[in-house]
């Protein structure tokens, strides 16, 4: 054994031992205080092993990456004017693109089952499913000149699978927008500080757009610095507004916020790109990367203790107040981004494959960036699990369970088996200068409280807690508002494109009535779910989030089906299990969740059982809690019917895609080898990139 190899073996042995010890501590601790550092160590150790061994195995044995083959980035131009993007830069672009608000919300909600289920799924899920999906999709798209997932689905599976994929993407977009907007509404409702700060981000972004376009063209850094300073000023000013005569103006009810958001979504999606979208892009990229790095440093410096149990009873009973349903399948539905997210396949195909320098870099960019996103999800889980469970449940259970006062919340939380006093709840709200933290569902306020605890411990002490809380709220809302306008644009585009097949004028992208009609249709669609969410007496997020999870995993199922199909069709049948097993798991999760949401006889879980219960009561002239009048009873009946139908449609889409793909698999296995859809081999003339870390012989 030569020296380099010996050093490599030693290093990887140490990494494996550290990871294994951390896992053992997490798995065996029951009732003791567990430091979050163990969670970080388990995550980092596992990621390192996964990246070094499993990702390398997939790259070399399964995909057979070939660095002598020119990538689209090299072939697309003459190689004179353009140099394909450096892998470190591309990693940053790809990571910034995939790490949005998603990984910050799901883990917080899943914390109701304890820290261990979420931790295991985030880490194991990313290594064997999420990162694999991203990497394999990136590879196959790269071999096809950067074709999008939809194109690959149409080409490789057929028009039925392709159409189902398209419908799936559109449906997920609508539900996603409603869910994320609901997170913002719940975070800003009756919070003048938060509402003012977020409202200010719009004129700040518009000002930056005009400044960059008209006053100081090209001064991106200067404009971004001004933007960040103005953002901080908006947070500080929010504190003053809260205690001023303006407070009433910025204290908005959830339904009023819905109307503002719907109006904002429409305007933002039709505004020119330079005006709002471009300056916000600069702002949110800096905020995103800076805040996440700061949070990671904060967790390592403060080493917070996890106050949640490893498993709460809700993991097994399925009676959790945050969302109904037991550990399987609902942890895997609730945590999508960070473990396995179908959305990533949209970016892993399309943009990134057109920029990659060498084929072997799919490992760093596809697999590595997803591991980094998973780490963000771990941070969010820590932020939720370091809170006192009493506060966590008082914040995340809907008003129908905990009421609206600290007294009712303290009593309800005690009934759940946790201890919290009204005074403690009041003090927690006062510490972040909010009037109440009771029933602040959606995950964002919980994450913000956790983040403010971590930040204030090493940056400014208790006096800064309120500032950091509102900083975190703004940080999340900035992501989400970007999603609202971008998602509405995407939804509008898809609708225009689809309707263009039925009536030609819609396909003409410059036809303004088409633009406005489709924009209005999309904002009304997600606005309906948002409105239903905020007015649902049962609580909106616990009804909508499972639907979002199912829809996201549906997209993952489509992506994994495309990958498995391509592995089979490209003569890699013996390695089809690499994406086939995650696909089987994902289908099991999605279909079980859909089945339970549609057919469960438990009204807390099954949408139709819930509908039947409330419809029967209404027919008998009775009111069932938490509904306080017949209008609310009717709202519950309508919402559960719509949600149930959607859950059934999502399940149907998964089944259609899988059956269509199985037809293609059968044909590929039994018939002659199908023609390849890869672009032909062209020898690369680019020199090999030097190793990032020359640790071992690879």
């Amino acid at each position: 054994m030569n020296k380099t190899r010996l050093r490599s073996v030693l290093v990887w042995t140490v990494v494996a031992v550290v990871g294994a010890v951390a896992w053992a501590v997490l798995a065996l601790s029951r009732g003791e205080n567990v430091s979050a550092v163990w969670l970080v160590a388990a995550a980092l150790g596992s990621y390192a092993i996964g990246y070094r061994f499993y990702a390398r195995f997939i790259a070399k044995k399964v995909l057979k990456v070939d660095d002598t083959r020119a990538t689209p980035a090299e072939r697309l131009d003459d190689g004179v004017d353009y140099q394909p993007t450096d892998r470190r830069v591309l990693f940053g672009h790809h990571f910034a693109a995939i790490a949005g608000a998603g990984p910050l919300v799901g883990p917080v909600l899943a914390a109701q089952m304890g820290y261990l289920p979420g931790t295991i799924w985030i880490i194991v899920g990313v290594i064997f499913a999420g990162a694999v999906q991203d990497m394999v999709t990136l590879f196959f798209s790269m071999r096809r000149d950067g074709k999008s997932l939809g194109q690959m689905a149409r080409d490789e599976i057929g028009p039925i699978g392709g159409a189902a994929a398209l419908v799936g993407v559109f449906a997920i977009m609508i539900i996603l927008l409603a869910v994320l907007a609901l997170v913002v509404v719940n975070a800003l409702a009756k919070s003048p500080w938060g509402t003012f700060s977020i409202a200010m981000t719009i004129p700040i972004a518009l000002f930056m757009g005009v400044y960059l376009r008209i006053f100081r063209p090209g001064r991106v850094v200067e404009t971004s610095v001004i933007g960040v300073v103005l953002l901080i000023a908006a947070i500080v000013a929010g504190g003053w507004v809260q205690t001023s005569s303006w407070a009433g103006f910025f204290t908005l009810e959830p339904k009023t916020l819905v109307l503002w958001l719907v109006g904002y979504g429409f305007v933002a999606s039709v505004l020119p790109v330079w005006m709002l979208l471009a300056p916000r892009d600069y702002l949110s990229t800096f905020m995103k990367i800076g805040t996440i790095v700061l949070l990671a440093v904060g967790v390592l410096v403060t080493a917070p203790v996890l106050k949640t149990e490893a498993f709460t009873e809700f993991a097994f009973s399925g009676t959790g107040p945050v969302f109904a349903g037991s550990l399987f399948p609902f942890v895997f539905i609730t945590i999508a981004c960070g473990a396995l997210s179908g959305f990533h396949s949209l970016i892993a195909s399309g943009t990134t494959p057109k920029l990659i320098q060498k084929e072997s870099q799919v490992r760093l960019i596809g697999y590595g960036a997803m591991l980094a996103e998973s780490f963000v999800a771990v941070m969010a889980l820590i932020a939720a699990c370091m809170l006192d469970p009493g506060i966590y449940f008082a914040m995340n259970a809907p008003a129908g369970v905990v009421g609206t006062t600290v007294q009712s919340a303290a009593e309800a939380v005690s009934n759940l088996g946790f201890t919290i006093t009204p005074a403690e709840l009041q003090a927690a709200a006062a510490a972040v200068q909010e009037t109440t933290l009771v029933a602040r569902t959606g995950g964002a306020p919980t994450f913000a409280v956790g983040m403010s605890e971590i930040f204030s411990e090493f940056l400014g002490g208790d006096a800064m807690k309120a500032f950091w809380y509102h900083f975190a709220i703004m940080f999340e809302a900035l992501f989400i508002l970007t999603t609202v306008d971008a998602g509405t644009r995407v939804g509008r585009f898809m609708l225009q494109d689809g309707l263009g097949n039925v009536w030609k004028p819609f396909a003409r992208v410059s036809w303004r009535p088409g633009l406005w009609i489709c924009s209005a249709a999309v904002v009304l669609a997600w606005g309906y779910f948002l409105y239903a969410g905020v007015s649902d007496p049962l609580g909106g997020i616990n009804q909508l989030f499972p639907l979002f999870g199912i829809a996201n995993q549906l997209l993952a199922a489509i992506a994994l089906t495309v990958c498995t199909t391509l592995l089979i069709k490209s003569g890699r049948v013996k390695w089809a299990w690499v994406t086939g097993i995650p696909l089987a798991w994902d289908v099991a999760v999605t279909l079980t969740a859909s089945w339970q949401k549609v057919f469960s006889s438990d009204p807390k879980l099954g949408f139709f059982a819930q509908r039947e219960k409330y419809a029967d009561a209404l027919a008998q002239g009775k009111l069932l809690a938490p509904a306080k009048n017949t209008d609310q009873m009717e709202a519950i009946i309508t919402n559960s019917t719509v949600d149930g139908v959607l859950a059934a449609v999502f399940a149907l889409l998964v089944i259609i895609v899988i059956l269509d793909a199985m037809r293609v698999w059968r044909k590929a296995l039994l018939g002659p080898t199908p023609p390849t859809t890869e672009t032909p081999y062209v020898a690369s003339t680019l020199p090999e990139s030097p190793k990032l870390v020359d640790l071992s012989s690879r």
């Binding site: 689209p72 980035a73 697309l76 131009d77 004017d81 353009y82 140099q83 993007t85 830069v89 672009h93 910034a96 693109a97 995939i98 790490a99 949005g100 608000a101 998603g102 950067g146 074709k147 999008s148 939809g150 194109q151 996603l176 994320l180 960059l212 376009r213 008209i214 063209p217 090209g218 001064r219 991106v220 790109v273 330079w274 979208l277 471009a278 892009d281 949110s284 990229t285 981004c337 997210s341 959305f343 990533h344 949209l346 970016i347 399309g350 943009t351 057109k354 920029l355 970007t482 999603t483 306008d485 971008a486 998602g487 644009r489 995407v490 585009f493 898809m494 992208v509 410059s510 633009l515």
Partner: protein, 109 residues
């Protein structure tokens, strides 16, 4: 890919300036898309991330790497409108060109 400046754009572009075809990420949950924009920049302010692309006149156009990747193989014409002292550089790309490119629906030029 060739990016051609029409006569108005050539006329409005000052000697020390270039046209930049930029790319703006639009976040969607944990995946993104993007959109093109076009602006002018002083030659001295060009940063390393921007690349010169085939252009007429030569050397007059730079592009963000992602914008370049989506525009490779296309011919684009840049024009300019003047409203008082303000110059608006525009392209003949269709609306939502960035979105269309990401979703594989940008028609060939």
């Amino acid at each position: 890919m060739t990016i051609r400046l029409d006569a108005v754009a050539c006329n409005e572009l000052r000697p020390h300036e270039v046209v930049v075809v930029d790319w703006h990420v639009t976040g969607m949950c944990c995946a993104d898309s993007g959109e093109f924009s076009v602006r002018v920049l002083r030659r001295g302010k060009l940063h390393r991330g921007l690349r010169a692309v085939d252009a007429m006149p030569s050397g007059a156009v730079y592009a963000h790497p992602t914008a370049w990747a989506h525009l490779a193989g296309r011919d684009v014409t840049v024009s300019c409108r003047r409203i008082g002292p303000i110059r608006w550089f525009t392209t003949d790309l269709p609306p939502d060109a960035g979105l269309r490119a990401c979703m594989g629906r940008l028609p060939p030029s």
